[in-house]
Symmetry: C2
């Protein structure tokens, strides 16, 4: 039983976003960052390895790309968390999609553009359609950025049409 539950926890959130073309997290975007997020107890984790093109300065990961990773990781986490508190598997009915309300990033030190970065996010508040998350970025064992992100549920399959991609 324990084993099964652990395997479920490693389900990637992004594998349950049908037709996702997003530059940060869409598996339908071959030019994108294609991040993958999964639960590690109460924290959502993302491991991602930069390509050279995502430099800010030489050997330093671009801050905007870090913001993109944080943003997409947190939107995925908001969706997965909603399923968790509703006691249902990620990807089950109804589908929810989140868009970013605010994205506040504090850069602490450079992240290497040559090594894997780890993001760890957790939900700090849910209020109606609004989920607030705290996300940390680590590079080579050091914390290099932290962020507070507000995700807004802008799509709910029970209320919106399937193809409705607009914010509200």
């Amino acid at each position: 039983m324990k084993k099964k539950s652990k395997a479920m926890d490693k389900n990637y959130f992004q594998d349950h976003m049908p037709g996702n073309v997003c530059f940060g997290c869409g598996d339908k975007n071959s030019h994108g960052l294609q991040i993958k997020s999964f639960w590690d107890k109460d924290e959502a984790v993302c491991h991602w390895t930069p390509k050279e093109r995502y430099h800010g300065w030489k050997n330093v990961l671009n801050g905007g790309i870090m913001a993109t990773l944080i943003d997409c990781h947190c939107m995925g986490t908001a969706m997965a968390y909603a399923c968790k508190i509703e006691g249902r598997p990620i990807g089950s009915y109804p589908e929810y999609r989140y868009a970013t309300g605010t994205l506040n990033v504090r850069y602490l030190k450079p992240s290497s553009s040559k090594h894997l970065v780890e993001l760890r996010a957790r939900v700090i508040e849910v209020k109606k359609r609004k989920t607030t998350l705290y996300c940390e970025v680590f590079s080579q064992g050091e914390k290099t950025a932290e962020s507070v992100v507000v995700a807004i549920r802008v799509f709910d399959e029970r209320r919106n049409k399937k193809g409705d991609n607009q914010f509200k």
Copy 2:
């Protein structure tokens, strides 16, 4: 005389960043966004046209890419503003480089991924090495995001070695 000064104002900030490999603003990064910023009176303007790969959702510009545009546009503006208040041309000695301290973005509505976006930034405070900027994003005539960004001067040619790319 007027004509000459107007021409100088349209100098792109990024044309004075030698060897810049940055994903957002480096002209030495052929895979990057290659933004260009220029003065329009007291506001720094950037016009940028998305490629399809930078989708968030279909036809909507990715929020992380918007953060990248804001970030790089503001770092360039902090550098150009420092030259302006020192009464010297962009690109003259000493070279300054800025890195992001904090990046706070509020998303107001979707930006089209099919149309040019305009960024307008202005400096709201300079305190020692720290420059605070306010930046707005417009898409199809509507304001779609606003941001407050803190830029830190991390490189000063008078103090650092030319090749020194590290923050601090």
